[in-house]
């Protein structure tokens, strides 16, 4: 097998694995948000959901509009400075922040403390 073909095959396998994991993660996020809604855990404060892409944000907004998941803010995080700002802001408020695990893993060094405090939930 030529080197180019082998590389293309590796890239394709990588894409397949990554997209399967991403799709699974979207499902995880929605199902767990629905469970949070059922448990009325956000009565004490507002719910904020952090996602990685506008597509995920759109899906969550649609599902909250039809009341499958509780209403709250959906924030798309594009870079590190944004996540630091948001976490700082969140820690000062009463409420629950939910973050997709893929996004958490991207910035985990900055988010460990927020998780320990219980204000950040990783799904």
């Amino acid at each position: 097998m030529s080197r180019t073909l082998k590389k293309a095959q590796e890239k394709w396998i990588q894409f397949r694995i990554e997209s399967a994991l991403r799709a699974g993660e979207t499902q995880n996020l929605v199902v767990n948000l629905a469970l949070i809604g059922r448990m009325n855990s956000t009565e004490a404060g507002r719910l904020v959901v952090f996602v990685e892409t506008f597509r995920d944000a759109l899906l969550i907004r649609i599902l909250s509009f039809i009341s499958v998941i509780p209403r709250g803010d959906v924030i798309v995080v594009r870079d590190r400075s944004e996540i630091l700002k948001i976490v700082r802001e969140q820690t000062g408020r009463h409420g629950l922040s939910v973050i997709a695990s893929r996004l958490f893993l991207k910035y985990y060094q900055h988010l460990i403390e927020a998780r320990k405090s219980g204000s950040l939930v990783i799904v």
């Binding site: 590796e10 396998i13 990588q14 894409f15 397949r16 694995i17 990554e18 997209s19 399967a20 994991l21 991403r22 799709a23 699974g24 979207t26 499902q27 995880n28 996020l29 929605v30 199902v31 767990n32 629905a34 469970l35 949070i36 059922r38 448990m39 855990s41 892409t53 597509r55 995920d56 899906l59 599902l63 039809i66 009341s67 499958v68 870079d79 590190r80 629950l96 695990s101 958490f104 893993l105 991207k106 910035y107 985990y108 060094q109 460990i112 998780r115 320990k116 219980g118 204000s119 939930v121 990783i122 799904v123």
Partner: protein, 406 residues
């Protein structure tokens, strides 16, 4: 297990753990360790071989080796680096354990840099990144200069620092977590040592699995900003034709990543000898006899890139499914987080078969969610397809623009 050599050094500060599974052609790190600017008694070298081979590459630098152990695992058994890490931790006498590449180059201040970092803050897990050079003319290893390694052929040198250190996001994929990891031996024992689960068999493994659990324990992950390792090309460096456990598509263990996001501190399978050390007993190093059959070569599919087969637990539509002695157990992912851990018992579902459990888990959802679920699954895959289409469109567009400009 056979001990070929045992150290006479009484209280070294640092223990370097070097592992081999009868593949290493060169242990030239030992050459660079003989040139350190600290007293030789400040550190020891522990070499652990998975099979029975007495490596000529180690023999060449035998005077630098303090402890040399062969685990004598049968040839029919596939290699598991984490078992070797545990053997290294067990035999180490130093306060700080260092797990690093044995075929890398280090500068004279390498050991001093590690000691200084831990003196400044003992509550850390320290990593060092690696410059990697792809030039084939350095193979077989011919002791190039450090300048040569970071020069032509080095893909990650950005102004004297590795590219990963400049990157402000996704450090997990941009930094080399397997190059060099340093942690206090006491801390490594407290987290139960390296995880000996089947998911880490073969190429998808590394000390980062312990780093993530140490971070969950409260240790601060830090990357040295001025001290690096230097690696030159050799055949098979990317794990070609190796067995691959579950990974994220970029060769990072999904089981280790899950440990980080769930906050888990203990391994899924703890080494018995490390557990005894944790319980303050004085054991001998013990290898589970069951590994000879569960790690057999002929039961594995070599060179298969797989996402989730043989995994410790399975994530299914927002729930985590685990196998128990009498069937299956499932619970929503949120109960692993501190905010919802108290609800675990209430939300746990048990069943004898996986099919039954999945049905029960779906039934535990509200009607509206249940109805929306098939649509959601379809939507999540469609969103990924849109992502691919956008990516391809962008790439095509870029090509068109570039060709139009040129």
């Amino acid at each position: 297990m056979k001990i070929i050599k045992r150290t006479a050094r009484v209280r070294p500060k640092v223990s370097l753990i070097l592992v081999d599974w009868s593949v290493r052609e060169s242990f030239h790190l030992l050459h660079y360790l003989s040139r350190q600017d600290v007293a030789r008694d400040a550190f020891e070298v522990v070499v652990v071989e998975f099979y029975s081979r007495v490596s000529e590459a180690v023999r060449k630098f035998e005077d630098q080796v303090d402890t040399w152990v062969t685990l004598e695992m049968p040839d029919s058994c596939y290699y598991h680096k984490h078992l070797m890490y545990n053997a290294g931790i067990f035999f180490a006498k130093g306060e700080i354990c260092v797990i690093c590449d044995s075929d890398a180059m280090v500068k004279e201040g390498f050991i001093r840099a590690i000691v200084t970092e831990f003196e400044t803050d003992p509550q850390i897990v320290l990593h060092m990144d690696q410059f990697r050079n792809t030039r084939r003319d350095f193979y077989p290893f011919c002791y190039p200069s450090f300048e040569d390694v970071i020069g032509k052929g080095c893909g990650n040198n950005v102004g004297g620092k590795t590219r990963g250190l400049y990157s402000s996001e996704d450090s997990i994929h941009n930094l080399n977590y397997g190059a060099c990891m340093c942690a206090r031996r006491e801390d490594l024992i407290a987290i139960g040592g390296a995880d000996e689960h089947l998911d880490y068999l073969g190429h998808i493994c590394g000390p980062y699995e312990m780093t993530f659990r140490l971070v969950n324990l409260g240790r601060r992950e830090t990357w040295h900003q001025t001290e690096f390792l230097y690696h030159t090309w050799h055949p098979g460096q990317a794990g070609e034709n190796n067995y691959l456990g579950p990974h994220d598509g970029r060769h990072l263990s999904t089981t280790a990543l899950d440990a980080l996001s769930s906050g888990r501190t203990m391994p899924l399978i703890e080494n018995e000898s490390i557990r005894s050390l944790r319980m303050a007993a004085e054991p001998t190093f013990h290898i589970s006899p069951a590994y000879a059959s569960t790690w057999r070569n002929d039961t594995l599919r070599l060179n298969q890139l797989r996402a989730d087969s043989c995994s410790a637990s399975e994530t299914w539509r927002g729930f985590l499914i685990e196998r128990t002695a009498d069937g299956y157990l499932g619970y929503p992912l949120i109960v692993r987080q501190p905010a919802f851990s108290a609800l675990r018992e209430k939300l746990e579902v048990r069943a004898a078969t996986i099919g039954e459990l999945r049905k029960k888990l779906v039934d535990s959802l509200r009607n509206r969610t249940r109805i929306a679920l098939p649509g959601l699954i379809l939507a999540s895959y469609l969103l990924q397809a849109v992502g691919l289409a956008l990516f391809l469109a962008r790439t095509r567009l870029r090509r068109v623009i570039v060709s139009a400009l040129s």
